[in-house]
């Protein structure tokens, strides 16, 4: 099977799963923005997705993609580490034009994974999971307000999003390059697209964190004072 046996096949799986995860992030981020615009609207989305069959299929598919992406990342890293040989260079200097993120995708990936675990505990376990178990889910907006009003959660989420930005600035164009959608003219363009997509995704998520942090701390205090 070429998706397992060949190097390009393995990278093909990485790029397809990665690209799907980016599409999910765009969807998730758009959904989150609704919380800023309309709290009722956000709760409606939560209800609409909830534990309905399509949301469950989506979640299962997403979990499968994420696991595949992580599994292949580990396999590729082990193989690449071995391919490097036992002896290492005594002096190594970064080459011109080599992005820092491209050299640290695994480390960034681990930070993102830790963030996902935190996120699942914070939100998913209290929303979709409890609904699957047959109990009443927590209110989406209330949960967001509660979580991000605490400065350490807000900070952790921002750090997480920061790593995500680095991961995506390399990941998006790299996936296009792996799929062969690149040439001398398009390489700078896909790198630019990559930066735009990464920034857009991260800004969408960060906006919600920052908005509810400020709303929970500053405006809350103002309201109390009034």
């Amino acid at each position: 099977m070429w998706l397992i046996n060949s190097s390009v096949g393995r990278k093909f799986v990485m790029s397809i799963t990665g690209a799907c995860l980016v599409l999910f992030l765009l969807f998730h981020g758009t959904m989150n923005l609704v919380a800023i615009i309309s709290e009722d609207g956000y709760n409606m989305i939560c209800e609409f997705l909830g534990a309905n069959w399509y949301a469950l299929v989506g979640t299962a598919g997403l979990a499968f993609l994420a696991c595949l992406h992580i599994l292949y990342a580990l396999i590729l890293n082990v193989q690449n580490y071995r391919a490097r040989g036992t002896a290492r260079y005594a002096v190594s200097d970064r080459s011109n034009g080599v992005e820092w993120s491209s050299m640290n995708m695994l480390v960034l990936g681990f930070i993102i994974l830790a963030g996902i675990v935190l996120h699942l505990c914070n939100f998913w376990a209290k929303m979709q999971l409890v609904e699957i178990m047959g109990e009443e889910p927590a209110s989406g907006v209330e949960l967001i307000k509660y979580t991000f009003s605490q400065w350490y959660y807000a900070l952790l989420y921002i750090v997480w999003l920061f790593s995500l930005w680095f991961h995506l600035t390399h990941g998006v164009w790299s996936s296009m390059q792996t799929l062969g959608w690149s040439n001398n003219i398009w390489l700078p363009r896909i790198k630019c697209i990559s930066n735009i997509v990464a920034t857009l995704v991260v800004l969408m998520f960060a906006a919600v964190v920052v908005y509810f942090f400020i709303a929970g701390n500053c405006c809350g205090a103002a309201a109390c004072a009034a």
């Binding site: 260079y89 992005e99 390059q177 062969g180």
Partner: protein, 251 residues
């Protein structure tokens, strides 16, 4: 009068493939800044021979940047700090007086050290043997204009054909991948009608051989193209991926 510099060299010495290697430090005085890096190593070897010591083994041949024999990882860069030149074209004017220069062999699983700075790069030959050619029945010389080729394709094929197979790409790659080399060799033929005929089989055979020989998986860091002495572009790897994925989907 020539400008001269005094330098300290830290050179990797290794008696054989299985032996344990180590760095040896040498001091060289009055090296002309107009001499090439390899000429400087010749001076070092003359000095070692006169001291009845074993000279440093390093690969070299044409000394004009076209054969791909010279290698050397100098101060953290394959072919040294200059861009788009091979070690033989690197000049001592790139270094300053009193500088310590670290010289290492290519380090990659598929390029085992033979001795000192010389590594076994036959893995690249094996990849070429797997399909890096056009099989034709030789007959009369065909008319040069019988097969029209767009200028753009001819130029790009030529850019890829400039690969000299020195191994700098795999040496620079943090994943020990030979993708830029394979990409250049696949591209130079895939871009021309003569090579198009066997393109699908060629890409499968060459990539299969690359994987089999223990080279790593490309993660598009781009160090290969940045360090390539012939400036083979990173887009060649995209073409290789495209050719390979299309060939697999057709199967």
């Amino acid at each position: 009068m020539d400008k001269t510099i005094n330098i300290t060299l830290k050179v990797w010495r290794q008696a054989g493939p299985k032996a344990k290697g180590h760095f040896e430090t040498y001091k060289l005085n009055n090296i002309s800044t107009d001499s090439s890096f390899l000429e400087m190593l010749d001076v070092l070897n003359e000095q070692l021979i006169s001291e009845k010591k074993e000279p440093v083994v390093f690969d070299h041949d044409c000394r004009e940047g076209i054969c791909g024999m010279c290698s050397l990882y100098i101060n953290g860069h394959p072919h040294g700090p200059d861009s788009a030149v091979t070690t033989c074209q690197l000049h001592m004017r790139r270094f300053h007086d009193g500088e310590t220069i670290t010289v290492e062999p290519w380090r990659s699983n598929a390029f085992p050290v033979i001795k000192d700075l010389m590594v076994d790069r036959r893995a690249y030959d094996k990849i070429i043997q797997a399909g890096g050619f056009v099989s034709v029945n030789t007959g009369g010389v065909p008319d040069a204009n019988a097969i029209p080729i767009p200028k753009k394709n001819a130029d790009e094929a030529m850019d890829n054909a400039s690969c000299i197979g020195c191994g700098a790409c795999a040496a620079a790659c943090k994943n020990g991948s030979a993708m830029l080399f394979v990409a250049a060799k696949v591209s130079q033929l895939a871009l021309l009608p003569q090579g198009r005929v066997e393109a699908a089989n060629r890409v499968k055979a060459m990539l299969g051989k690359m994987d089999e020989l223990g080279f790593g998986n490309c993660t598009n860091t781009g160090a290969c193209a940045a360090e390539c002495p012939k400036s083979v572009p990173l887009s060649a790897i995209a073409r290789l991926n495209r050719e390979f994925i299309c060939a697999k989907f057709k199967d």
